[in-house]
């Protein structure tokens, strides 16, 4: 039998007016296992805590029950006091006789009976308690950031500035992501590259940031604080160390092809750098287009290169890195136009998407910022913008709002009207969602000052007739069917996660939703953490969002990483699951129920008589387990238990309450 102490708090009159605290402590004195019981006016006060400490030491108590306010208030206070007196803090349990007893009942007799019963139940729980010790988990203070767009760069810079090493992995040859392609940004109309270039340059030269562009994460193992990742570095066929970025190769390369960076709006060479401000400013050869790779002849780049850095024989290689935390910032793409069969399925050259419009409106784009339509280079006299092209559309399996389109469409229409004053810009919208600082004012400016015509309704069809694009729409406010002949149609196609997000999610063991956006740990309270401890989320990888929101979230993710790295060890809550290997049958019913993937099979050796047998059992990664206890219920053999809320503790508590 343990020596247990019981302390009943009056909380001034808060408890004592409804619960007869004296009677309670008196009755507990005679309860089996209770060595000491008393009541006190304010246990949370300094003298109260001193009393507890002294009593523990004087009586060599092995466990205590504090009957007071909610454990949410002072559990940590009393556990700390007990620890100071040499008692394991997990030997301390709180009985809630204030919030859940004295304050909610008015009959003193009933309340006292209930309080006594609750305290007895807690005594039973303490009897079954164990010493628990927080585990120290080692920590590699280095972060892997996946994605070199504005969110990934923000995370990288924040963490690097805090003094920790960062590996920034980007699948494209250069960083900058989607933002590098934008013309101007809402709601201020400042040019995207003007605000982005200083950032990319800083990332490029920061001593704490290792940049791995043209690379992808292909494998990940370990757990928070201690991940090992494998990064595939795809060949560039140019020795970037030697290269001086003179770009003679690009100038002289005879092979011209469509540029992905320009989204088909412009051309590039088979050896090229995507855009003039690219970081790193180093060219890459596209294996599929290069004449030498196809025919074995040409080598023009080799001929003109002054530093002899072309390496046709370069191979991909895999590098392994040990890191402590991962930030996923894999960004977004746009729903391909081919999926929108009612808007031409991508077969009309002059039906373009938002990003293509960005390129033709960008001063550094293929038209040098003059808005010309792709088919013949004419300046369009009439543009129709179609919002919600694929978004908010169950039929296209994208029932969600893409969030950024209302704003960028207003911006597009404005940019156009600023260039072509007598042109007409028509926007088809369903709702204008302009929640954000200065956003609504921005949209109103487009309507009032720039005379952009906003029609409330969706477009049924776009087709070509007599060299014009015909847009069949409706204005539901006037109930009129609308037929507009346009020179250019811009579709605000749905924001979708990066094509490789799902695979990346599987690699990192982080869940994605039905559309491929990464799931956050809690939609309100843990928006930048994933369900996998140590993996954080930033930017459009998690959901569609605009630049200011992305930057805020990325900064938040960086703060989470920095907080994690601010300690020398990670400490894990000891109130986690544990397996009794003796009775575990290794059925692993617990494995799929664990939301944190903390359970894995393990083969152990068991000595039976003179032979040693190998047997599979479940094992808990205490770093990953968060202590929900779902596995303990799923366990058929009863081998799985939860420290701090063990089956025995709950059952004893229960029994005492049922009497």
């Amino acid at each position: 039998m343990k020596k247990i102490g019981v302390f009943v708090c009056w909380c001034g009159l808060n408890i004592s007016s409804t619960v007869d605290v004296g009677k309670a402590s008196e009755e507990l004195k005679n309860y089996p296992g209770v060595f000491y019981a008393d009541d006190y006016k304010y246990l949370c006060s300094d003298p109260g805590q001193e009393l507890i400490k002294k009593t523990i030491i004087d009586n060599k108590l092995e466990g205590i029950v504090v009957a007071a306010c909610s454990p949410n208030m002072h559990e940590s206070t009393f556990r700390a006091a007990a620890e100071a007196a040499g008692l394991n803090p997990y030997r301390v349990e709180i009985t809630n006789i204030r919030e859940q007893t004295s304050w909610v009942h008015s009959n003193k007799e009933d309340a006292t009976i209930k309080a006594i019963q609750l305290i007895k139940a807690t005594v039973e729980k303490v009897k079954k308690s164990e010493d628990l010790f927080p585990q120290q988990i080692p920590l590699t203070k280095k972060v892997l950031v996946i994605g070199g767009g504005i969110s990934g760069m923000t995370v990288a810079l924040e963490v690097a500035e805090a003094g920790y090493p960062v590996i920034l992995v980007e699948k494209e040859p250069q960083i900058g992501g989607n933002m590098a392609k934008l013309s101007e940004t809402f709601p201020t109309l400042d040019c995207a590259s003007c605000i982005l270039t200083p950032k990319t340059a800083e990332v490029g030269r920061h001593s704490n940031i290792t940049l791995m562009t043209n690379s992808e994460v292909v494998e990940s193992s370990g757990y928070f604080g201690n991940f090992t990742v494998k990064i595939k570095r795809k060949p560039t066929f140019v020795d970037w160390e030697k290269c001086i970025g003179c770009m003679l190769c690009q100038e002289k390369c005879p092979k011209k092809t469509n540029s992905d960076f320009e989204h088909g709006m412009g051309k590039r060479k088979a050896i090229s750098v995507a855009f003039p401000q690219a970081i790193p400013y180093r060219p890459i050869i596209n294996e599929k287009e290069c004449i030498y790779f196809k025919t074995g002849k040409c080598k023009m780049c080799v001929k003109v290169c002054p530093v002899d850095c072309i390496e046709f024989e370069q191979l991909e290689n895999i590098v392994e890195e040990n890191i402590g935390a991962i930030v996923v910032a894999s960004g977004y793409e746009l729903l391909p136009k081919e999926k929108l069969s009612e808007y031409g399925q991508g077969k009309y050259a002059d039906v373009i998407d938002g990003m293509q419009f960005e390129r033709i409106a960008s001063a550094s784009g293929p038209t040098e910022g003059v808005i010309r339509r792709p088919s013949d280079g004419k300046i369009p006299q009439s543009i129709v913008f179609i919002q919600c092209a694929g978004s908010r559309d169950n039929q296209k399996d994208r029932p969600y709002c893409s969030k950024i389109c209302c704003m960028y469409t207003a911006k597009h229409a404005m940019l156009y009207k600023h260039q072509v004053h007598d042109g007409t810009a028509t926007v088809f919208y369903m709702d204008i969602r302009a929640g954000g600082k200065g956003y609504e004012e921005f949209v109103q400016r487009a309507i009032e000052d720039d005379h952009v015509l906003y029609l409330r309704g969706r477009v049924a069809r776009v087709y070509e007739e007599d060299g014009k694009l015909v847009v069949l729409g409706v204005d539901t406010l006037s109930s009129e069917q609308v037929r507009i002949e346009a020179d250019l149609v811009v579709l605000a196609t749905a924001v979708i996660p990066s094509e490789k997000a799902k695979v990346l999610g599987q690699t990192l063991k982080v869940g994605t939703d039905a559309y491929g956006f990464f799931n956050e740990a809690h939609p309100k309270l843990r928006p930048v953490e994933s369900m996998t401890k140590g993996v954080f989320l930033a930017g459009c990888a998690q959901a569609p969002r605009d630049i200011p929101e992305t930057v805020s979230q990325a900064t938040g993710a960086a703060a989470k990483v920095i907080t994690m790295f601010s300690k020398n060890h990670l400490v894990s809550d000891p109130q986690v699951a544990k397996v009794n290997e003796k009775i575990c049958v290794g059925c692993l019913q617990c494995e799929p129920i664990c939301p944190y993937k903390a359970i894995e099979p393990e083969t152990i050796e068991v000595r039976i008589g003179h032979t040693v047998e190998k047997r599979q059992v479940a094992t808990i990664n205490k770093g990953l387990c968060q202590g929900c206890g779902a596995c303990s219920v799923a366990c058929r053999s009863g081998a799985m238990n939860l420290s701090g809320f063990s089956n025995e503790q709950i059952l004893e508590e229960l029994k005492a309450l049922c009497l």
């Binding site: 454990p71 919030e99 968060q626 202590g627 779902a630 709950i650 309450l657 009497l659």
Partner: protein
């Protein structure tokens, strides 16, 4: 003199939502019958159906499981498991002849002190009407 039957009810409350909701009821000085006794669990998904059955065996007249609203579970999916187990448990109770009304499950958030008090009062009333649980109680 007729003494009104005072039931004994066990409430399993998840630490993150419902237990805090119960605290909220207290802070707002809502009143509910003293027949309810709360056991704190980390998550409604921690509630093993054997706990429920054990409660009836040991003489509880009613059991209430309170967890986070769907989609709000601190551990993401625990409340869904709890709900499924609850449904199974009610079927089992029907099977062995315990009135399934003696088991109830509720989503109560940390902000729903009012709801907590209301549910407790309602459930206490239900159980009072059902009378003592003689069926499943072990002979003492």
């Amino acid at each position: 003199m007729s003494v009104k039957f005072k039931p004994n009810i066990i409430c399993f409350a998840c630490n993150w939502c419902s237990y805090t909701g119960a605290d909220m009821a207290g802070t707002s000085r809502m009143k509910y019958p003293a027949t309810i006794k709360i056991i704190r669990v980390p998550c409604s998904g921690r509630v093993n159906p054997t706990f429920i059955m054990k409660a009836y065996q040991k003489g509880a007249d009613g059991v209430l499981i309170a967890g986070c609203h769907p989609g709000d579970c601190h551990y993401n999916s625990g409340n869904y498991f709890a709900k499924r187990r609850f449904l199974l448990a009610t079927r089992f109770m029907n099977y062995i002849g315990i009135d399934a009304k003696r088991l109830r499950m509720e989503w109560i958030s940390a902000a729903e002190g009012v709801k907590f008090a209301r549910v407790m009062a309602e459930f206490s009333e239900t159980i009072s009407e059902l009378g003592p649980n003689w069926r499943a109680r072990e002979e003492v």
